[in-house]
Subunit: 188 residues, 2 copies
Amino acid sequence: MDAYLDKIDTFINHLDLKTLAVLESISSTKKIKKGEYLLQQGEICKKSYFIEQGIARKFYLNDGKEITTALYFENDIAVSLDSYCMQQPSREFIQVIADSTVSQTSFLAFQTAKKLFPKLIELDLMLTEYHAMWLETRLFEFHTLDATSRYIQLLENHPHIIKNIPLSYIASYLGISLETLSRIRAKI
Amino acid sequence: MDAYLDKIDTFINHLDLKTLAVLESISSTKKIKKGEYLLQQGEICKKSYFIEQGIARKFYLNDGKEITTALYFENDIAVSLDSYCMQQPSREFIQVIADSTVSQTSFLAFQTAKKLFPKLIELDLMLTEYHAMWLETRLFEFHTLDATSRYIQLLENHPHIIKNIPLSYIASYLGISLETLSRIRAKI
DNA sequence: CGACATATTGAGATCCATCAACCAATGTGG
DNA sequence: CCACATTGGTTGATGGATCTCAATATGTCG
């Protein structure tokens, strides 16, 4: 799947200057402090957030408990997919959990830009495909791996996660309790 | 999310005649007998399969056990996403589990057609977005619901499934054992 | 230092998988 | 048409993985 990221990268680097300029013009960089929210539950996700630097997480509330569904690092794009695609209120929160710099792009501006610069539709498609493949990988892990294996998998693929993120977020991202994760770590 | 399907439907119905004709020309309808495979593990997924009539499932082998990852009915599109997008060997099988009629579209032909008829890229994007949202829903269920709730959820959203599909497939689709599913059914 | 978030550890309960036996329906070859 | 295999489903007993509740540490930051 990294190959696909490369493909996307190459695609962007080969965009004509006008298209690149438009992309630039509809994005703006912003510094966000740890703990602040990019998106609140109930809001419509009107922007996509490219993490230039820092960490963010996406989560929702279930019976008052926070369930972390995604963790974002440098070069990841954070959106609440259904809210973004359908422009409906979001069930999810997106929160920055370390001081960060994000480049945000308005959904509407991007829609307009896509009409004028069709290459951007292709880009959107590739990004969405990548995200869908990532979701399938994650489902695969829930389907086949037990808690310990899921954690090891995470360790191997994203070693930086453990150093920077509270265990409680990681545990809920893995779909296990904080205590179980702690025990898993003690055992390894 | 049904609203999004409607949107896609509307989009297709408003395509210009030429684009529709191209879409038609690169697709072909085929009858498939129960048990036959649309895609085998190791093959590259070179086609997408629109189920006009019948039932199919997607699964992979894990330690020799079949894990069903998707169930397809009328109007669903079956592909092995990563194999299709990246044109790499598939980990998954796609098997027809009832006599079916499918309309298959070649990946390559579709790629070519998209170059000539950009509306098709938009269509592809919408379909991919829909699929990604579906995956998120499924992940949500694995994350928050226990076996019984997942089954009930399935019952409510897809009552036709239970009538037509062996319990063993449903169980593995839900990520539980056949026996557990049987007990859940007895209890409800 | 005190306060509050973060992490570890223990004990008991619960969910679910596994193994194994069994039943019912369907189909197949002789 | 019968004997038997095959497939799909149920049921019981047991063990393991993981959750929950609760107590106790270990930060970390004003």
